[in-house]
């Protein structure tokens, strides 16, 4: 256990040495911190309306002004970050867990199962995400859970395919043959020997996927298919600001800037993580 902790420490140090990685680490750190402590950070209740002070510009009372219902934009941005992570993290990790399991089974199992799972992946992938989201929302109505479900379902094939390819390359390697000749069962080979070899690559993929998911959630909310109002979301903020851009630009800034920052931050972090974790690059260090 101590070994893995020091290894995690090494990875973080490795990322922090890279300037872009450090930037990503800081941005992601700030976003995660704000999301966790949102309740204490927000100066106002993000859904409390105050019609008298609507559409105000930035002031000491309202750092980023207020929207058309007099809600404090800064509070909504912070709370929106919490919603974004609430969608992104479960969706990405759920998709990763399911995709990893199915992909490893496809890569290691019999050929017919592989074909069946690949057909399943390809079927999902052939749906345009937004159209799929529209259909699901029409069926069960817009909510946080719906967004998580849609995002998860559409990104399972990506993880599944990568896990399958990795498993296929590993399954014929000599150390797996050695394990089999030592009497290891399929579950043991997949769980104990394959998983640690694959998980690094998938973790990097997940880090790179988080910004996509955040943008997707914002996009769905922008179209009114995401989280239900009055729940604050960056996409919803952008949508409100879009129609009021002539009166006040602050809503668009409040909704757009965090999306840009989060996307950049997670992308930097993911790329830097890839360089540090990738076994092929690691050997050269």
């Amino acid at each position: 256990m101590e070994k893995s902790r020091s290894e995690l420490g090494q990875i973080i140090i490795g990322v922090a040495r890279d300037p872009l990685g450090l930037m990503g680490l800081i941005i992601v750190g700030v976003i995660v911190f704000c999301a966790i402590f949102a309740y204490w950070i927000v100066p106002y209740d993000p859904i409390a309306m105050d019609i008298k002070s609507r559409l105000q510009g930035p002031s000491t009372a309202h750092l980023l002004g207020t929207d058309q219902l007099g809600r404090d934009t800064f509070s909504r941005v912070i709370a929106g970050g919490q919603v974004a992570l609430k969608v992104a993290l479960p969706a990405v990790f759920g998709a990763m867990a399911i995709g990893l399991t199915l992909g490893m089974i496809a890569g290691y199992g019999p050929k017919w199962l592989d074909n069946l799972l690949m057909l399943f992946f390809d079927t999902i992938r052939s749906f345009p995400t937004v159209m799929f989201a529209l259909a699901v929302v029409a069926l069960i109505g817009p909510s946080l859970q719906t967004v998580v479900f849609v995002v998860m379902a559409t990104s399972i094939p990506t993880y599944g395919r990568v896990a399958r390819t990795q498993t296929l390359t590993l399954r014929n390697s000599e150390f797996i043959l050695a394990e089999r000749s030592m009497g290891a069962s399929m579950a043991r080979i997949l769980g104990v020997h394959m998983l640690p070899n694959i998980i690094g690559v998938l973790a990097v993929l997940a880090a790179m996927d988080i910004p996509t998911v955040i943008a997707l959630e914002a996009g769905l909310s922008f179209l009114g298919l995401g989280v239900k109002p009055p729940t604050p979301s960056w996409g919803a903020l952008l949508k409100d600001g879009y129609s009021l851009i002539r009166q006040t630009p602050w809503l668009v800034v409040g909704g757009g800037l965090p999306i840009i920052l989060a996307t950049l931050g997670f992308t930097f972090l993911g790329e830097s993580l890839r360089d540090v974790v990738d076994p092929k690059l690691r050997k050269q260090r």
Partner: protein, 326 residues
């Protein structure tokens, strides 16, 4: 006491390919007795690896067992269920592979891997780790407790091969298959590994099936030797007998070609001219005929049987018949 441990009886194995069936093994028959070291020699492509994977039943999906039996302690392994085979592998039969750089999981420590191998044992984790350290000590890895925490890439090739041997011997198997364990190592390490294997064999009393194309190593280590050519046994017998009195031209040429055997400095090392016949399209008669300098008319028409020439010495060559008749 000659208790038979492994009996390979008229084993024939084909690979189904697009060009037709590749007859990888034909009519292989030999025994390994308890506590005995048997060597298998032959050039690349003679079926050594197919033989090992057939014993362990870890064959490629296009493998077809056409005929024969592989009996281990009297039980036919080719009829055993997958579950029975799995319980046998790593417990009663274990194997050391050729390339020590490839046989360990690169992302797990040696300790984790040695713990994992003992998954059948009900011992506590601490006991298992102690056993792992003891085994590493037995194969001559200094400071085994500390070494258990290291990853495979932190060891040299020779050390990794010794770790592989330690892992293979962990469950005290009755049969250890060594698939060219020294081919990927340099000469000094080769000697060390061979000596270590001899010591361990005396300690654990396991039988060893030692596959190699290095005749010197076979002569040093083995009690008996089986010479294979193009998927068939051409000669088998006591090591001393085979090396001093080879009865098959292929064995004779192999010994002549061994660099350790050459006394004078030569510009060109001796070789056996010609190529191994196409296993998908075998010629009739003796398989070695095209490369044999003593081939006769009979060699082209009839396949020579593997005859017993002396107690325990078998060879498949018509020349021995000529001697017998004349």
């Amino acid at each position: 006491m000659t208790d038979t441990l492994l009996e390979i009886d008229r084993l024939s194995v084909d690979y189904e390919t697009g060009r037709g069936d590749l007859k990888a093994l034909r009519d292989i028959t030999f025994n390994v007795n308890k506590g005995e070291i048997v060597g298998i020699v032959g050039e690349s492509g003679c079926g050594k690896s197919t033989l090992i994977s057939s014993i362990l039943r870890l064959t490629a999906p296009n493998t077809r067992f056409r005929e024969g039996e592989v009996r281990f302690k009297g039980k036919d392994l080719l009829q055993a269920s997958e579950r029975q085979m799995r319980n046998l592998r790593g417990a009663d039969i274990s194997i050391v592979f050729q390339d020590p750089m490839q046989t360990h999981n690169p992302v797990l420590t040696i300790g984790q891997q040695m713990l994992d191998i003992q998954h059948r044992s009900k011992q506590s984790k601490a006991d298992k780790l102690a056993h792992a350290a003891k085994m590493l000590g037995a194969v001559g890895i200094p400071d085994p407790e500390a070494r258990l925490k290291q990853y495979p890439h932190e060891f040299s090739g020779g050390m990794r091969q010794r770790i592989a041997i330690a892992m293979a011997l962990m469950s005290e198997p009755d049969l250890l298959i060594a698939d060219e364990p020294t081919t990927a190592l340099d000469a000094t390490l080769e000697v060390q590994i061979i000596e270590r294997l001899q010591e361990l064999q005396r300690e654990f009393h396991c039988a060893i099936l030692f596959i190699s194309h290095h005749l010197g190593v076979i002569a040093e280590l083995c009690d008996r030797v089986v010479v294979m050519y193009a998927g068939a046994v051409v000669e088998s017998g006591e090591v001393r007998e085979i090396f001093h009195n080879p009865k098959h031209p292929y064995t004779r040429r192999l010994i002549e070609c061994d660099p350790g055997h050459i006394k004078e400095r030569a510009r060109i090392l001796p070789t056996i001219p010609g190529e191994v016949p196409d296993l998908a399209n075998l010629p009739g008669g003796c398989i070695f005929r095209d490369r044999c300098d003593q081939a006769m008319a009979r060699c082209a028409s009839d396949v020579p049987p593997l005859d017993q020439l002396k107690e325990g010495h078998h060879a498949a060559c018509w020349l021995n018949h000529e001697e017998a008749t004349s």
